[in-house]
C-alpha cells in the first residue's frame, strides 16, 4: 500500500496532509502536495495559468523533498506497473502512483524537473486510457483551429512557435497535449515548455492538421500517406511504458488519429512566411 508507506515515512496523518496546488492540464486536475512552502511557491510560479484551486483533483501526489544531488541524471525514466500501482523512477526521483486510489508520492530534491517529468508521465498514462497522447510537437491555435508541428529535437518545433504570427496562440513549443473528445481530436495548451521557455496558452481547440517538420531551402507542404503518418506519429508520441495494454491503447489511438486528422510534411526555412501556408 503506497499510501501507508508515504504516511509512515512523513509522519503525517490523513487529517494533517500537507497543503498543495492543483495543476489542471488538458482538463485533468492533479493535486500536488508538499509541506515545503518554497516548493509550493515554485509550483505556483511554474504552472501559473494552469492552476485551478477549485477543481476536484483526479489524482494527487504528495512530494517529499530529499537533499539535492550534485549531478543531474540524464537517463530516461523507468516506468512499470504492478497491479494498479505505476512505478516511475529516474536517478533524481522515485514516484509511485496508485491509479485505483487516485494518489501517489514523489521523492525528489527541490528541483522543478523531477515533478515536471512525473506530471508528463502521469498525463501520458491517463491519456492513453482516454484515446489521447502527449506528442513531441509544438502546437498553436489560429482562427479557432489547432495545428500541430511534430518532430524530434532540432526539427524546428521551437522555431515554428517563435515565428507564429500575432493572431496565433501558442499552446506549447515542446509537448502537445492531444485528447479525443466526442467531436474529434483536440489540442490543449500545456505548461511543458521547450527552448522557448514560455508556458503555453491554457486553451483547447479542434485539431485541423498535423505537420511533420523538416528543414529545407523552400517552404513546401506535401500530404503524407496514412501508414507513414502513423509511423511518424508513433515515433513522436511520448512513450514511457512497455506495458502491453498501454502499448495497445497508444497504438490504436495513433492509428485512429491519422484516420481523422490530415497529416502533412512541412518543409520550411526559418522565416515567418511559412505561416502564410498554415490555416
Amino acid at each position: 500500500m503506497i499510501a501507508g508507506t508515504c504516511l509512515a515515512a512523513s509522519g503525517t496523518t490523513p487529517r494533517n496532509k500537507p497543503q498543495g496546488v492543483i495543476v489542471e492540464i488538458g482538463g485533468i486536475p492533479i493535486l500536488l502536495r508538499s509541506g515545503d512552502a518554497k516548493f509550493r511557491a515554485m509550483l505556483e510560479q511554474r504552472y501559473a495559468g494552469f492552476l485551478n484551486p477549485s477543481a476536484q483533483p483526479a489524482s494527487e501526489f504528495t512530494v517529499y523533498l530529499n537533499p539535492p544531488r550534485t549531478k543531474m541524471p540524464d537517463e530516461d525514466a523507468q516506468v512499470f506497473r504492478n497491479d494498479s500501482v505505476w512505478h516511475i523512477e529516474r536517478g533524481d526521483f522515485r514516484a509511485e502512483w496508485d491509479t485505483e486510489a487516485g494518489r501517489g508520492y514523489v521523492r525528489q530534491s527541490a528541483n522543478p524537473y523531477a515533478i515536471d517529468t512525473v506530471l508528463r508521465i502521469t498525463h501520458s498514462l491517463v491519456l492513453a486510457g482516454k484515446s489521447g497522447f502527449l506528442l513531441h510537437a509544438a502546437s498553436a491555435v489560429r482562427d479557432g483551429r489547432a495545428f500541430l508541428f511534430a518532430g524530434a529535437s532540432g526539427a524546428g518545433k521551437t522555431t515554428i512557435a517563435r515565428l507564429a504570427p500575432e493572431d496565433a496562440k501558442v499552446l506549447t513549443d515542446e509537448v502537445s497535449y492531444v485528447r479525443r473528445q466526442k467531436d474529434g481530436y483536440f489540442a490543449f495548451g500545456t505548461p511543458f515548455a521547450g527552448e522557448l521557455a514560455k508556458v503555453g496558452e491554457n486553451m483547447r481547440a479542434p485539431i485541423a492538421a498535423l505537420y511533420l517538420l523538416a528543414k529545407g531551402p523552400r517552404n513546401r507542404i506535401e500530404p503524407v500517406a496514412r501508414s507513414e503518418a502513423a509511423r511518424a506519429l508513433l515515433s513522436n508520441i511520448l512513450f514511457f511504458a512497455e506495458d502491453p495494454e498501454f502499448v495497445e491503447w497508444v497504438f490504436q489511438s495513433a492509428c485512429e488519429f491519422v484516420g481523422l486528422v490530415p497529416v502533412y510534411r512541412l518543409t520550411f526555412s526559418p522565416n515567418a512566411r511559412v505561416w502564410e501556408m498554415i490555416g
Binding site: A225, R226, S227, A230, L234, F239, E242, V247, F251, C255
Partner: protein
Amino acid sequence: MTSKRYARSPQVAARRLGDEIMIMSAPDSTLFTLNEVAALIWEASDGSLALNEIVERDICPAYDVPADLALQDAELLAEELVAHGILLRCEEPVREALEPK
C-alpha cells in the same frame, strides 16, 4: 505442399490502414508495416488454416500467381514474422478459430 500453420501473436497490436496493416510489438514497441499481400496472410493466420490453404484461397485467385511460387514467398514471409515474434507457428490446428463463439 506444406501444412504449416501460423497464428497471430497476442503480444502485438495491429490495425489496417488502407491496403496495409501496421503492427506494433508490445514487448519492444517495434513497428512493422505489412503490404497488401502480407496483410492478407496475416489476417488469415488464425491457426486453423494451413499456409498452403490460405495461399490457394486468398492469394492465387486475387493475384493470378502460381500456387507453388506464392507459397514459397508466403513461407518466407511467415517465418520472418515468426522470427520477429508477431506470428506464432502452430503444431496443431487451432480448433477454437473454426468454431463460432
